[in-house]
Amino acid sequence: MTAEPTPTPAPDGAVADAQGDVLQVEHISKRFGVVRALHDVNLHLGRGEVLGLLGDNGAGKSTLIKIICGFQPASAGKIILEGQEVTFRSVDQARAAGIDCVYQDLALINELTVYHNMFLNRERTRWTLLSNRSMRRTAKEQLDRIGVNIPSVDAEVAKLSGGQRQAIAVARAVTSNAKVLLLDEPLAAMGAKEGAMILELVKDLKKQGQVSIIMIMHNYGQALEVCDRINLLQHGEITFDKMVKDTSVQELNDIVIEEYRRALQERQQAEAG
């Protein structure tokens, strides 16, 4: 790998201010055996920006997120965080560098309390014993501050609703002082009311401007509402990069409909041949 810090030219003419980028992902590829999950993915994230990552199921969104957060290594390519090339061998390393992730499955432990989940793998200890009291108090404060409503921080996470669980997972990532926050479908499997709570949370974070966010989403309306910029991942490649003000639900829909049309055509041709 070369250490050349050239900013990636955006494929679709979006504004790319290399100086303001907190994160750059360059030429990332990922193979699982013969399956090509990601191919030469270039992506950048401005400071304080909320980037919406859209794409079909299986397009490679979650794989990309898991590479950035250190859960799995890339086959090729590099990640540049605040101008420095970084290689993460574990989630811990990425977290220490300031990248935190909310996974699609939330990575919550049902059997543990809310506050133990909030502090999972970041526990406070004293003489190797857990400082439960201190973690409880802080967890409560943090949840109150970001306006998450749960019955008690002592409740086992298993007892919470889907939205509450999502909120705990987001709160956990938000309160870790991350510079870059990766949210993998935070609105999946969520009612309108709970989804709105999460969107509000993201908007608040955006307003505070401390953290830059990449968010995997499916709902274009919500994406355009909360994001600054949209990237589209198709078949393991970024094919679209526009500021929200320069695009519309209509345009995004058209692209996806086009993709469906092409897939259908290919299938018909395959069947005919």
Binding site: S90, L106, E111, L130, N132, D154, A155
Partner: protein, 347 residues
Amino acid sequence: MSEITERTPQDVSPAAGPPGRAPSPVGAALGVLTRQREATVFIVAVVLLLYFGIRYNSTFVSQTNLANLLSETAAPIIVIAIGEVFLLICGEIDLSAGFVFTFAPFLMHYLIDFYGWPVWPAIIVSLLFGVVVGWFNGFLTVTMGLPSFITTLGTGFILLGLTLTTSHAYPANIPAATVGIGRWLGAAPWSQFIIAVILTAVFYVVLNRTKWGLYTVATGGNALGAREAGIRTGRIKYGNFMLTSTLGALVGLQTAWYTNTIDPSAGGYQPMFYAVTAAVIGGTAMLGGQGTIVGAFLGGIVLATLINGLNVAGISANPLDIVFGAAILLSMIANVRLARLRAAGRN
């Protein structure tokens, strides 16, 4: 569990029934039963001890018999059960612990009597042998991906074969030089039980108040989630295998000192299965993510009381296994039911 005892009254949801607001004594009792998974086995232990204590007063309550019950019978079950609880919580099991039990005292005997080792290094290496077996169980299970049931079935057989081959299936005498230390560690009437109590206390704290305990629960509760949070679940499993085998080795040495002989037929499957039984009737589900050390301790007391009590009562030991089998099934049913009640009660 610690979270429950630490809970301050104002945080308890009304459904959980805070003290002073309990609807009735029955309701309060039910509340305790559903919240404290150790409560059932505690009551059973007390009832059994009272029954045998009152019915067979002079023989059962004698100091010799109680030392027998608690040190010789209960302590080995309890100590191995501590390891098994950690393994069951993180989703594994160790069938080989009883065979480390069998081999460890022979190893000490070989090192001292055949190789002229001093006492302490021989004892320590015999315990470390447990660490090595545990590591190997971890390697096969975590790194090679075998189910731990099969892994430890295999290593258990190998250890048994190793014991029988090297000892020619004959018992050996306790190395004379270890008798003094052996009194402290196992031979004196109460030492095994006292050590079992200390280990229970220590590992209660490890499970409930340290990162290791928390990560053990996380590993068994949601392995992928734990890994995503950066927890090295493989390392946790390795560690718990090593813990269990080492406890097996310790109990093997203790039993050899207590019985004053190194017996190739000691240990084996029985203490291990008793230990798993103690864990299960104590409230540790075999589904991963949940378990209790205090419950396993009480489970060990219940089993030992039954074994010893029926002996004192002069009843044939043959039906004992029927009782144990039924106890396992009943407590497992109770676990599953109570877990549902608990889930409903806290919503």
